[in-house]
């Protein structure tokens, strides 16, 4: 079982590198959606010994939202704004890859300080989820388009969600609901905002939004 888990974690890490390396917005959306699926798999695999209905339902909802609904919303936004690529990001793609490597190292370093009390987990899980969070933050920082930033935000939420659903699942359900709800609402509102921005500015480069 552990091999599968490790594999899923490795896939998660790889998906992050792909996210960092992709300029096409559609691909980004797809990667974020795939990440959500991988996360759900990890969550299920790590709690396989004590699977309960609540977790399963949660995972199903997650997949539905994160992998289907939200990407659809973002796709529509992207199409509506008419932007396909992130052409001149703040940090170039090869440099982004290197930075991704650095972030991965940082994640491992950090997880060195924190011992995971959950026994069933892959030992790579903590760094992987931290790495996902960092990648999300990195994308927000390194990209210019508002849509890309929203995707970065989603990747970050993915990481947090991964962490939560695997390590904090024994909390009453409010936590999961909140994750889903808030991600949902936040992304929705951001989407609406992006529509307005594109309407006002004819482009969605946020670096033009300077005071």
């Amino acid at each position: 079982m552990n091999e599968w888990l490790d594999l899923a974690v490795a896939l998660l890490i790889l998906s992050n590198f792909m996210l960092v390396n992709t300029s096409r917005l559609m691909s980004c959306i797809r990667i974020v959606a795939i990440q959500a699926v991988i996360l759900s798999v990890i969550a299920l695999l790590s709690h396989l010994h004590a699977l309960d209905v609540r977790l399963v339902v949660l995972v199903i909802i997650t997949v539905a939202l994160k992998a289907l609904v939200l990407p659809q919303v973002l796709k529509r936004v992207t199409v509506g704004t008419g932007v396909e690529r992130e052409l001149s990001p703040f940090v170039g793609y090869s440099l982004s890859l290197m930075a991704g490597g650095g972030l991965l190292a940082l994640s491992f370093l950090m997880s060195h300080f924190l011992t995971v009390p959950e026994p069933g987990l892959s030992r790579f899980f903590l760094p992987a989820s931290l790495f996902t969070i960092f990648t999300g933050l990195f994308i927000i920082i390194a990209r210019k388009k508002a849509v890309t930033q929203v995707m970065g935000y989603m990747a970050m939420e993915n990481g947090i969600y991964a962490f939560g659903v695997s390590l904090a699942i024994h909390e009453p359900f409010i936590v999961e609901i909140s994750v889903l709800l808030d991600v949902f609402v936040a992304v929705l509102i951001m989407g609406v905002a992006i529509f307005h921005i594109s309407h006002e500015f004819d482009h969605i480069d946020t670096d033009q939004l300077s005071v």
Partner: protein
């Protein structure tokens, strides 16, 4: 006690009433009335404290409140309250006349409200018996005076001056805050339980020196004084210069009662500070062209003299030389009183001149004695008093300080006292000479000779309120000068608060009273002699020809007002001597060619501390700040990067601490 509290209530009620009155005309009558009523009550109340002994009164002590309104009046407070009340009362009368012409354009009700609040807060500062209450009263005092300073706020320079004042006083208060927090280490801020940890004794002293010294105007913290005092309306300048800066002196004295036995170097610090302040103040006064600015610098000078006296007293205390201690502190307090009287007189005079001619620039004035005889005469008396000339009051305080320094030359108290005495004597003598130069210049250029401008020519005497209040002060100058033996007994209890009561002290006070009595006799003799000589001359001249003619002036046929010595040329030799310190700027347009059209020379003396030290610092800070402003580009990406960096830094810091522990 009742009277004092009643006075505060009267003043605050007055503030409320006049604030409500706003622009209505009667505000300008109500203000002075309330102020005078408050002053009378305070004076009577304070003098009764001398009789009945100290009292204490607290409104909400020990409750849940942070601020406990807690008054106490001992002789030291009573002394300062008396001075404050007398001067504010007289200033209010003057102000009633002075503000009349502003009635159309200004909200006089608010001006009076702030004046009354200022009076009340000064009294509160001088009687506060709780650290936090003291600070609150202190800041209200600063704030209300700030609003008075910016009375003519439509002038940019007035607003600037007000700002300099506000900032200076705020930074000073920061020191006081820390000081009172240390005093309150025991838990309660009540002065009754104020205890200074021995290790922090000197820290407290330094904090007090900076904090209170800024208000008092010790160099180099005096920078606000020559800005704010000229900007304010003259009755306010008088109150600020004459009594508000003394609140700083009061503060230092009060703190000294908590710190226990003072250390020798405190005294030295005060003496040296006093010397620097005194000489610096008078030098800059000498170089000014603006009459009120001159007076403001002269306040700095007199604060220097007060500090000299106090420093002498502390050296006396620290070397257990009771005579020196008592004389030094008495001189300090005596000069506090005297300076309050003559400085307000001088500011009133300057105010009347401003009122009559619209100018404070001495180079535009002259010949006012003929046009404003009363103001001129009163100003001359004030000028003589501030030069410490007998038989006027200025002499008394300086005499006590001189005497203290001479008494320091007693061999068995060691060389420290003697050195201190030498420094004090030389400084005081130099200050005396410079002050004489400064005030003959002020009086002579402004009031004597021929008018230097058409405004000065058209000047007119001020109204009765203004001249009346000046007359009262002039009379006080003379009375205090002759009543030395009486006043030294009056301040004796206040001195005892600091020096403690001892046999030596009684002797000193007794002897001092005796000397002062002789001075009074000599002063009376002097007056009688002058009067007698005058009678003789009149008698002789009565039968002879008394003619009027032009000034002879070595036979000049057509003397002109422009040929007179100007203020700048009068002070030029002295200023040039001290150029290294004063840094007066001269701008000379020399006449060129064979038949030159015209030439000009202008001098200008800015405050050295302000222009050389503080302004550059502010410019530097603004530059750094501007550069940092540019860091803010407005990219969301960068902002989020800040967040991430902050996160990592804090995480790293937290765990690094863990690691190293």
């Amino acid at each position: 006690m009742i009277l004092f509290l009643a006075a505060l209530i009267v003043l605050l009620t007055g503030a409320f009433v006049t604030a409500c009155a706003g622009r209505r005309l009667w505000a300008n009558t109500a203000g002075p009335l309330f102020s005078v009523a408050g002053s009378v009550l305070t004076v009577v109340g304070s003098l009764m404290t001398y009789e009945d002994g100290p009292w204490e009164w607290a409104l909400n002590q020990g409750g849940s409140a942070i601020l406990s309104i807690h008054f106490s009046m001992d002789p030291l407070s009573a002394f300062f309250c008396t001075v404050t009340a007398v001067i504010t009362g007289i200033a209010a009368i003057y102000g009633g006349g002075y503000l009349k012409e502003y009635a159309d354009e200004k909200n006089l009700g608010m001006a009076w409200a702030f004046f009354l609040i200022l009076s009340a807060s000064m009294l509160a500062v001088e009687t506060a018996w709780d650290g936090i209450f003291f600070l609150v009263a202190w800041e209200i005092m600063s704030l209300s005076s700030f609003f008075l300073v910016i009375f003519e706020s439509e002038k940019p320079e007035v607003l600037k001056a007000g700002w300099v004042y506000l900032v200076a006083t705020h930074f000073a208060t920061a020191f006081l805050m820390v000081m009172f927090m240390i005093l309150g280490s025991a838990g309660s801020f009540s002065f009754g339980s104020a205890a200074v940890p021995p290790a922090l004794k000197s820290v407290v002293f330094i904090l007090a020196l900076v904090g209170f010294g800024t208000k008092a105007g010790f160099s180099p913290f005096h920078v606000w004084l020559p800005e704010a005092h000229p900007a304010a309306p003259s009755h306010v300048s008088a109150v600020m210069s004459a009594v508000m800066v003394k609140a700083g002196i009061y503060g230092i004295l009060r703190i000294l009662t908590f710190t226990g036995e003072p250390l020798l170097w405190w005294g030295w610090t005060l003496v040296i500070l006093g010397a620097v302040t005194g000489i610096g103040g008078v030098l800059f006064a000498l170089a000014q062209k603006d009459l009120k600015r001159l007076l403001a610098y002269s306040t700095v000078e007199n604060i220097g003299i007060i500090a000299l006296g106090l420093g002498l007293g502390i050296v006396g205390m620290a070397t257990t030389h009771p005579v020196m201690a008592v004389l030094g502190v008495s001189g300090c307090l005596m000069h506090v009183l005297n300076h309050a009287v003559f400085k307000s007189l001088l500011f009133f005079g300057a105010g009347s001149v401003l009122h009559a001619t619209g100018s404070k620039n001495m180079e535009n004035l002259g010949g006012l004695m003929k046009r404003m005889e009363k103001t001129g005469s009163f100003f001359m008396v004030g000028a003589a008093a501030i030069c410490a000339l007998p038989p006027l009051n200025g002499f008394i305080g300086e005499f006590l300080i001189y005497l203290g320094s001479f008494k320091a030359f007693t061999v068995h108290y060691g060389t420290q006292g003697s050195l201190c005495g030498i420094l004090t004597i030389s400084t005081l003598a130099l200050i005396g000479g410079l002050a004489a130069a400064c005030f003959t210049r002020a009086g002579g250029v402004v009031f004597l000779g021929e008018p230097r401008s058409s405004e000065a020519e058209k000047a007119h005497e001020s109204n009765a309120f203004m001249t009346g209040s000046m007359a009262i002060l002039t009379a006080l100058c003379l009375a205090l000068g002759l009543a030395g033996p009486f006043t030294i007994r009056l301040i004796q209890p206040a001195v005892q608060v600091l020096t403690g009561r001892s046999h030596a002290m009684d002797t000193v006070i007794f002897e001092g009273g005796d000397y002062l009595m002789r001075i009074s006799v000599a002063g009376l003799c002097f007056l009688i002699l002058v009067l007698a000589l005058r009678l003789i001359r009149n008698r002789f001249l009565s039968g002879r020809s008394v003619e009027e003619a032009g000034t002879w002036d070595c036979g000049y046929t057509a003397p002109d007002a422009r040929m007179q010595y100007t203020a700048s040329s009068f002070s030029d030799p002295v200023v040039t001597m001290f150029q290294a310190a004063v840094r007066s700027k001269k701008q000379v347009d020399r006449p060129v060619g064979l038949f030159p059209e015209s030439g000009a020379i202008q001098t200008r003396t800015d405050d050295v501390v302000l222009t050389r030290l503080i302004s550059p610092m502010f410019v530097l800070a603004a530059g750094v700040s501007d550069r940092l402003h540019r860091m803010k580009k407005g990219y969301n990406q960068i902002y989020i990067l800040y967040i991430v960096l902050a996160l990592f830094t804090l995480l790293f810091w937290t765990f690094y601490q863990e690691y190293t522990r």
